[in-house]
């Protein structure tokens, strides 16, 4: 193998060699540059290969034939080799990307680029303090040159600001260094680390100055205005280098420097890092320039890595896995995004909508965002998991909280941006496509997925990219060019096949949920046969959600559970975003969901207390004082998904604005994931008390209020899908209530809700969706009298609302029956009253579905409406049959569950499933006889009506009205708008959007705070230098004052 010194020699030699070439030989010069960068990459790569795969030990490289500390030495190990490879590769890509610019600027620019890459490698390799300084100055100066390659004239100012700040930095560094040398008698980093005690006898200040100098290069808050200006104005390829290469190299330099300081300085690094991470993310919320936004995000990510460096001792062996995962994810994603930004013509975030015409570029964008946010299966996900666990196990809860808060902010603005890409108006000629630039950007995508695989292999948790459901979902990406019908068939086959293969291994609870989610999903997907085109992007998203669901049900460990949870969250977000007007709603969905997921992460981390491979079942053994907190965190996380009141505001928009076949998927199926989580939680942890408050009691209240508020809000909706969405909040409230009762029948009722709600909500969403598709509106008052035109949809709706309202003979009644039995065994009176109140309210809104849509008078413009398309009606009919069957023999499914649940309650209060009747201690219920009785009554009444009206004359719709006078607007004769106005007068105060106002105010506050505070970055280079000085002095006062 070639000595790593050749990386330096090749870089420098090629730079010098370029001077020998005549000015005109641009091609030759460019060739030399590429060759040198490739060679540097090859050397680094060969070392990486040796360390990673052949297990070579790190090597020390001496110069001048003399041992350190008397001469400069390099050290190359796994970390150094991988970082050097990163430097060389980003450098090579930058050279390819900037080809035109380099040709225009000539060989000098190429030489500067080569030296830049060489110097970053030097920063990584060297173990000598002064040598580190020299390489860092080289990076600074070459940055000063490369900034000027930008076509943006403002880059000149940015470069000057950078130079001013770096002058200050080098003064601090040199003064600190020479005093550190005086204290220890060496300039070698390891030597200084060994002489730590000497250093801190009188040299703590010296170390402090050096640390400040290196940290200043990491752009800590508030001393980072200059960095932002460079990100905004530099050539995108250089901005990519500046973010990925300079960032990574300087982070590594800080890591080395902290070796000298030792453990006592680590908290300082963490503190500076976390402040930078959170503040930069807050500031990024109000950015509308893409590159400046990426700059803020870069600063934030580096802050996060600094935080991790500060937790080095806690992380132990995991340190490089965590820090490296975040660092590489950041580097690749940022480089990729900056490269993409070079393809987009204008600088507004909304201008990125131009990408939409190129699915491959959209995929690249998604990959980078997922990589940055740390979604599975990317390295950041594994890293975040390990980090959270280490922090929680060591009581660093504040830090964990701040990290998760910052990460949520980052996810918020990145996903908002993604929403713009898919939903904003596509600008004309918005892309500056150039094959080579595109290839460079796409190569980052490849690297991203390779890293995902690698980190999966390295993690002790099992590689997510080996999970078959996820692979199946990803399979739809390359297949996306196929017609939708084909893909739909494949998807259905996949869902059913997976269920068929796996159901024998499920217990009763898993079986119910799996049946609802997988074959249940397949039935809903039948409706998707309706679409004609290719439907790009639908199937990867949908299958990602299903993959998450399938993995969730089978998850044994907390890691598997959480990974599945994030997958299904992200998949469903993409699905919801597909709706025409769903941009803001999808955003609020993903923010709430990720917020909930982060709470779960904190909960799991707190529960595990450092135990690797924590089993879900082990939740039962979590002891005080953590247990109630774990319970609360997980419960809130799950309740976010079930849209309990307080965190429900995302649901109505997300469910209502989704596409016709997506609404039933996210409502009928996805909500059950939250219930599944709650089931698992209650089954393992049971009742918990926090400060003397019974937490299940709190959940009971939340469930009751959700039921009331959800139903109440539903009655005032004009939009049919929104009505159904609010009704889901109410329904989930019931289920939550049942679970929180913590008795056998309550749980049974909740399970019954899982099945019922899936069937009728899917059915109703499909039939309403079909109607909306035909009529072109979702406002109910614009419909009416559709019963004759859309009879099948009418039947589905009728059956659906009978089932929902819980009147005999359908299964909803069964649910109610069990529910009332359950309530009688519980003792909470007040929430019980509330939940009883919610019942009749449900009638009010359900009545509107039939009355306003199907009964009454037909509108003129709807006279030609046809029945909903076959593929939308088909699943509804299947659901009708299923409802009837389930109503007749509920025991088929429920008796197994009943038996399964019995042990949790010592076999008490079970039901007796003998024969066709079900008996509880309060009475019995015989579905078949009820069905028969109702059937007989209905048939008799119907026959009697027919008999009485046998001579009735069919009347045209307007005959009666026209008898008196001719109405000016016939539709006004069908009273439907603001139907429940009197109720609104009476109960309207309950529907005040207090929760919405709360969350909106919070968001508003964050945004305006960011908008005011970011004005500290005045743009004046001198002010930035003062910021830096102030940073140093403030840290000095805070830290050294207290040291």
């Amino acid at each position: 193998m070639v000595s790593p010194l050749y990386i330096i020699a090749v870089g420098l030699g090629a730079a010098f060699l370029l001077g020998l070439l005549p000015e005109k030989w641009q091609r030759a010069a460019y060739g030399v540059t590429l060759l040198a960068l490739a060679l540097m990459g090859w050397i680094a790569g060969s070392w990486l290969w040796a360390f990673a795969l052949q297990g070579a030990a790190p090597v020390e490289i001496f110069t001048a034939g003399t041992q350190p500390p008397f001469a400069i030495n390099f050290r190359v190990g796994l970390a150094e080799a991988s970082l050097a490879l990163l430097m060389a590769l980003t450098g090579l890509h930058a050279a390819l990307y900037m080809r035109d610019t380099l040709f225009k600027q000539g060989r000098r620019a190429m030489a500067v680029l080569l030296i830049f890459v060489m110097a970053t490698c030097g920063v990584i390799f060297t173990r000598d303090l002064f040598n580190l300084f020299v390489f860092m100055e080289l990076v600074v100066i070459s940055t000063g040159g490369l900034v000027l390659l930008s076509a943006d004239r403002r880059a000149l100012g940015a470069g000057l600001k950078y130079l001013i700040v770096s002058q200050l930095v080098s003064i601090l560094m040199l003064v600190g260094m020479v005093f550190a040398y005086h204290a220890t008698g060496t300039l070698n980093i390891d030597g200084m680390a060994a002489a730590q005690a000497d250093l801190f006898k009188g040299g703590a200040l010296a170390f402090f100055l050096m640390l400040m100098a290196v940290l200043a290069e990491l752009k800590p808050f508030p001393a980072n205005g200059w960095g932002l200006d460079i990100y905004e104005s530099a050539h995108p390829a250089f901005a990519a280098l500046f973010s990925a290469a300079t960032g990574a190299a300087t982070v590594y330099a800080a890591d080395k420097l902290l070796l000298i300081g030792g453990a006592q300085w680590l908290p300082l690094a963490s503190a500076i890092g976390i402040v930078t991470f959170v503040v930069a993310n807050i500031f990024a919320l109000v950015q509308d320039n893409d590159r400046r936004l990426l700059g803020y995000s870069s600063i934030a990510q580096v802050g996060l890595i600094l935080t991790v460096i500060g937790q080095r001792d806690l992380l132990g062996e995991q340190y490089y896995f965590v820090a490296g995962g975040i660092l590489l994810a950041h580097a690749v994603a940022k480089a990729g995004l900056f490269w993409l930004s070079g393809l987009v013509a204008a600088r507004g975030l909304g201008d990125w909508a131009a990408l939409r015409g190129h699915p491959v570029l959209v995929f690249a964008f998604v990959t980078f965002i997922a990589l940055l946010v740390g979604l599975p299966p990317f390295p950041g996900f594994y890293a975040k998991w390990e980090l959270a666990h280490a922090l929680a196990a060591n009581g660093q809860l504040w830090l964990l909280g701040l990290i998760l808060f910052g990460a949520l902010l980052e996810a918020a603005y990145l996903f908002r941006w993604f929403g713009y890409v898919l939903k904003r108006e596509q600008p004309q000629a918005g892309l500056l496509l150039q094959a080579i630039k595109e290839d460079v950007a796409l190569s980052a995508v490849v690297v991203a997925w390779l890293l995902a695989y690698l980190w999966g292999e390295l993690s002790g948790q099992g590689n997510l990219l080996h999970a078959i459901p996820l692979l199946f979902a990803l399979l739809f990406l390359p297949l996306d060019w196929l017609p939708a019908k084909l893909k739909n068939g494949l998807a259905i086959a996949g869902l059913v096949g997976w269920f068929y293969l796996h159901y024998p291994s499920y217990d009763a609870l898993q079986l119910i949920f799996a049946a609802v989610m997988l074959p249940g999903g397949a039935i809903i997907l039948l409706a998707s046969f309706q679409t004609q085109q290719r439907r790009v992007g639908f199937y990867p998203a949908a299958m990602l959600m299903f993959a998450g669901l399938a993995m969730l049900i089978e998850a044994k460990t907390s890691f598997a559970f959480f990974a599945a949870w994030e997958l299904l969250t992200v998949g469903s977000y993409f699905l919801i975003l597909r709706g025409k007007h769903s941009e803001p709603h999808a955003l609020s969905y993903i923010v709430f969901s990720l917020g909930g997921a982060f709470l779960m992460l904190a909960g799991f981390a707190l529960a595990a207390q450092g135990v690797p491979d924590f089993k879900i079942a082990a939740l039962a053994q979590v002891a005080e004082p953590f247990a109630p907190w774990v319970f609360a965190l997980l419960a809130i996380g799950f309740m976010t998904k079930t849209a309990a009141v307080g965190v429900h505001i995302w649901l109505p928009g997300a469910h209502a604005e989704a596409e016709t076949d997506v609404s039933p998927l996210v409502s009928g199926i996805l909500l059950k994931a939250g219930l599944f989580g709650l089931f698992v939680l209650l089954m393992t942890m049971g009742k918990q008390q926090l400060y003397g408050v019974e937490l299940t009691h709190v959940m009971l209240w939340i469930g009751a209020i959700s039921a009331l508020i959800g139903n109440l809000l539903a009655i005032f909706q004009e939009d049919a899908k929104r009505l159904l969405a609010y009704s889901s909040i109410g329904q989930m409230g019931y289920a939550l209530f049942g679970l929180a009762m913590m008795n056998h029948l309550g749980w049974l009722m909740a399970l019954m809700f899982v099945i019922n709600h899936y069937i009728y909500k899917s059915m109703l969403f499909l039939s309403v969706g079909g109607v909306a598709k035909r009529t072109g509106t979702r406002d109910m008052y614009r419909m009416g009298g559709l019963i004759t035109l859309m009879p099948l949809s009418f039947i589905a709706t009728l059956i659906g609302i009978i089932a929902v309202s819980g009147v005999p003979p359908l299964s909803g009644f069964g649910g109610r029956w069990i529910f009332y039995n359950a309530i009688m065994t519980a003792e909470y009176r007040l929430p019980m009253v509330i939940i009883f109140l919610a019942g009749p309210i449900a009638f009010l809104y359900l009545f509107r579905l039939i009355h306003t849509i199907f009964l009454g008078q037909l509108k003129d413009e709807l006279r030609t409406v046809k029945e909903a398309p076959f593929w939308i009606v088909l699943p509804q009919m299947i659901f009708v049959v299923a409802l009837l069957v389930f109503a007749l023999i509920p025991g088929m499914a429920l008796r197994h569950v009943d038996a399964y649940l019995a042990p949790f309650f010592g076999g008490q209060n079970g039901l007796d499933w003998a024969g066709l009747t079900i008996t509880s201690e309060f009475g019995y219920w015989s579905p078949v006889s009820i069905m028969l009785i109702i059937g007989v009554i209905f048939a008799t009444l119907f026959a009697w009506l027919l008999f009485v009206n046998r001579r009735a004359q069919p009347v045209k719709q307007f005959n009666i009205v026209f008898a008196g006078e001719r109405p000016f607007r016939p539709e006004t004769t069908h009273f439907a708008w603001n139907f429940f106005a009197p109720y609104r007068k009476a109960l309207g105060f309950l529907t005040q959007p207090l929760v919405t106002i709360f969350w909106e105010t919070l968001t508003e506050l964050l945004h305006s705070a960011a908008d005011i505070l970011r004005r500290m970055y005045t743009g004046n280079g001198q002010t930035y230098a003062i910021h830096l000085l102030a940073f140093v002095i403030i840290v000095y006062l805070l830290w050294m004052g207290g040291l």
């Binding site: 000595s3 010194l5 050749y6 330096i8 020699a9 420098l12 030699g13 730079a15 010098f16 060699l17 370029l18 001077g19 020998l20 490289i61 001496f62 110069t63 001048a64 034939g65 003399t66 500390p69 008397f70 001469a71 400069i72 600027q105 000539g106 000098r108 620019a109 030489a111 500067v112 030296i115 110097a119 030097g122 060297t126 000598d128 002064f130 040598n131 020299v134 390489f135 080289l138 100066i141 070459s142 000063g144 040159g145 000027l148 003064v175 005093f179 005086h182 008698g185 060496t186 009188g202 200040l205 010296a206 402090f208 003062i1026 000085l1029 102030a1030 140093v1032 002095i1033 000095y1036 006062l1037």
Partner: protein, 232 residues
Amino acid sequence: MIRRFAVFLLLLGLGAIFADLLLGYTPSEELNLTARYYAEHTAQDLGAANIVTAIVVTYRGLDTLGEVTVLFLTATIIGMVLARGRKHRALQRQLPAAGELLTTGSRLLVPLILLLGVYVFVNGHLTPGGGFQGGAIVASAALLLLLTDPLKRFSHRLIAVMEAVSGLFFIGLGVLGLVYAGGFLDSRVLPNGAFGTLFSAGVMPIIYSFIGLKVGAEFTSMLTHLAETEQS
């Protein structure tokens, strides 16, 4: 005013840090580990009389390579920036002619200055001085010429070749050390020779000469580029 006051306060803080450093400073009575090694071993191991030179060229040769690169980089960037978009306009104002004293003086001094510069970098391993000092002296000859005639032009090509060739030789000698001696930039590629003579200390004087040439070339290049801005 507020700015001045804030800066004053902050510098007061920095001053406190410096004062702390100063008060905590006790001059060493003996050479520390590193310095002692240099004092004891330089002469035997490397054969250089000037210990600072031995450190600069060999022990910390990598720093020096970086240092030379800094100059190269600066000269390159200046060339890149100033060459870009330069419009060749006629000089706006008439330059006053250089005085007789300056013209004659420079004619007399330039060869002497060049000679001194070469002497300084060739003897860098023996006497105070070396490549950087010598190079700076060489470049001051160019400065003198430019002062005499601001419109004088040096050949960019020649300067470029000189900086490239001397840089490449520097790296080449370093790599020779890696191959034939103890490591990158080890000066013992050639025998140490007789202590205190011109041909001693291995390749140290050769490297320092190339450094001198390179530094001279870089400085001249920067001066020329900056001088050429006079034109526009």
